[in-house]
Amino acid sequence: MTPRPLLQVTELTVEYGQRHAPTLRAADGVSFDVRPGETVGLVGESGSGKSTVARAVLGLTPVTSGRIRFDGADITHANRKTRRALSARLQMVFQDPYSSLNPARTIGQTLAEPLLVHSGERGKPVGERVAAMLERVGLPAKAAERYPSQFSGGQRQRVAIARALMTSAELVVCDEPVSALDLSIQAQTLNLLSDLQRELSLSYLFIAHDLPVVRYLSHRVVVLYRGRVMETGPVDLVYERPAHPYTRALLAAVPDPDPRIRTGRHDEPATPRGASQPTATGCPFAPRCAHVVEICRRERPGLLPVDGVPGGASAACHRAAELTPTGNGTVARAVAVGRPGNAHMEET
């Protein structure tokens, strides 16, 4: 039996009113859950609504419709008081370690802030907890007296992680926590996140555009496109046997760090994705999809289990069943997405 989810997002829709343009629907009926001790990866390109979902979970952006539950309690429209109480258990690590720390405050002052709200403790015990937490994330305790400008990007991100863990956090939302970091620092930070998860049985909602990073850290993954869930499932299944053409396109676009494969070296006609807008009622990916058929433009596909097995992957594609390979991932990779020529071959 699966344990009760810690975070449950149901049909979440977030709209932004724009002054001179129609309302922008940044998240459109997004549903997923995060179980205790689990990492759920949220992937997609810019504009896919990843960060909007994160901000909605943390109450930083108003929700238009849908429901967000944390440990069973509805927090969709939680007021300030509830949010304050909740902030001990629900925390966030931001993308940019340069702007997420106030440059005018010492590391110690920044780290003491969550305690100020929750325990009301002051003075010596706070200093001791700050020092202990700094050492836990791999920084010297005397770093507390210094200012953010005296630290590198990787060290600042450690401080940001420490801030999220000062209170007894259960779910940490990580919004692109390593995308601003160099490769060797990125690996250090990912290891730290994964160690902390094991030690403190944390749950992560891990948002990133870098697919290998998401795969490394996540148990399950949610693929977003234009605010809608395209595919979701256990990470290995989705990466090895992507059922949605968009997931396949994303995975195929990652340059493989193996010169013998040379993914980008096909001499394709390098046309960018079409500028045409998806129809209001159809699949949002239809204009870019190589396998598009008439129904895709007319009817929006629901998110359905791919194999009909519980705990497997689900995809929002009319043709998921016929396009998904049954064996290993090789067939999927060979079906090149984005080549208009192939669509014909598929159809005939």
């Binding site: 931001f94 106030n102 005018a104 490769l183 490394y216 676009a253 340059p255 760090p257």
Partner: protein, 620 residues
Amino acid sequence: MKTTSRLLRRPAAVVAVAWLVLLTVATACAPLIAAHGPLDQDLSHVLALPSASHPLGTDSLGRDLLSRLLYGGQPALLAVAEALVAHLVVGVTLGLVAGYLGGWADTLITRVGDLLFALPAIIIVLVVLSVFPGNLHAAMITFGVLGSPGLIRVLRSRTLGIRQEMYVAAARVCGLSDAQILLRHVLPRLTSTVIVQAALFSAVAVIIQAGLGFLGLGAQPPAPSWGGLVADASQVIDRDPWMLVPAGVPLVLTVVALSMLGDAIRDSAVESWSVSKLATASAPPPVAKEHAEAPVPGALLSVRDLTVEIDGVPVVQGVSFDVMPGETLGVVGESGCGKSVTALGVLGLVPGNGRVTGGRVVFAGTDLTASPTELARVRGSGIAYVSQDPMVALDPTFTVLSQLREAVRRHSGANREQARERVLELLAMVGVPDPEGVAGRYPHQLSGGLAQRVLIALALAGRPKLLIADEPTTALDVSVQKEILTLLHTLQRRTGIAVLIVTHDWGVVATLCHRSLVMYAGQVVEQADVESMFVRPLHPYTAGLLAANPHRAAHGHALTTIPGTVPSPREWPVGCRFAARCPYAGDDCRAAPVALTGPAPARLTRCLHVEELVSEGARL
């Protein structure tokens, strides 16, 4: 407290503080200092020059000027303080509220502020004085309030910016209340702005209160006031010019001291947390003597021993490499290793105070470092440059067509119509789907991928033989990134252009490059063809970087990491610069600079322990 001690280390601040303290104490203790009362007349000594009994002389009624100055100073300083307090209370409160809350509060406060702006302050002050005759307090408080819209506006826009900062969102996630956020995160960032504004306003207030006194609207004669002193002096200017000195100099000094103090406080308040400028440049670390070989015959670009300094500190040292025609060379490394500076150094475009201080750059047989005119000729037509962020590289005020046409005409001398044809041809060449339509657009109307294509078209306008691309795909989404990589590859096959690509992404290197150069702490540490480098790296840093890539890592297994961080140019050690992070490092590595050696054909590495690395199959 720290701020105070830092403040007192600044000579200007010490002088300003000394003057203001002296003035305050002296006016407060006026009865103790002045030998005469401010109203005591000595008709035998009228308009006297300074003497022992009257240190600053006397006025036309024989009153002691020092005494009048000191007694007049009390209401003057009080008036300035009143105006300042009113100014700050109204300005800071309303500015913060408007900027932080936004919405209707912001609209209301901004409109009221605009209204106050439109009122002539000095006239309102005169009206107040006609209602409360001689009441300087009422006049100065009114002046403080009327002067606040400027402060409100400045603080409102600063607060708007700060409210968007991620650390405010982080504080909210931590559960801090609005009041706590304002007090802990917003106000401290505004301190310097407020101090500067307060100092400037105090200076104006000093002048204004003196002006009111001069007009006889403040303290009524014979009561002493600073403005009154100036008025008295102006009446006897032809008989006793000296009197202007005691009347005017304290005013001038006070205004100057306030401005100086404001600057000094601001500087020392931010000094604690802003990036401090390190004192002096230490001697550059030595580099191993390497024989700078002659350029490889047939090479399109030969860089030899390139050294670049920024603010007198070397950031790139002794870099040598060749790019053959039609070849793609990747420059790999982490930030702070000197990749981008090397690329810009080739073009002589090092940012800021940087300059190329040594080495040679030979392009197609011409030494560019020797001749600035050659360098200027080669830019664009011989070597083109594509930067990381296409949105920043395109001028937002011109259409795609006009930017590209300018470049085409600059290089070919074509007329407008011919140039337009060439622009459309270029856009088609970089795979822009609707060249005519895109040509008419402004940069903000382009997606990131399209903008990067336009930028590549711009680079190709002068038909260059070498394209230098600095992280051309880093700012783009993964699917767009693939399109751009494919485009670069296709262009290379069609036009035979050579590419020097700066990147931190091994995937880009593997996809696009023939050979690659790994840089660490300003030096080349390894150079090889891409296949060999991936299969058998010959430098521990290369091996570590390759292993740190999460691409092939299994879930649940710790990623291989390189401990520590890249040292900054001022911290470079004498010996191997990677030694502190390297599992193979020994005393030999730290003793002296390590030279580049060629342990295998067509391979270079800056490592003394290559054999260990190879035999152990990379322990990192």
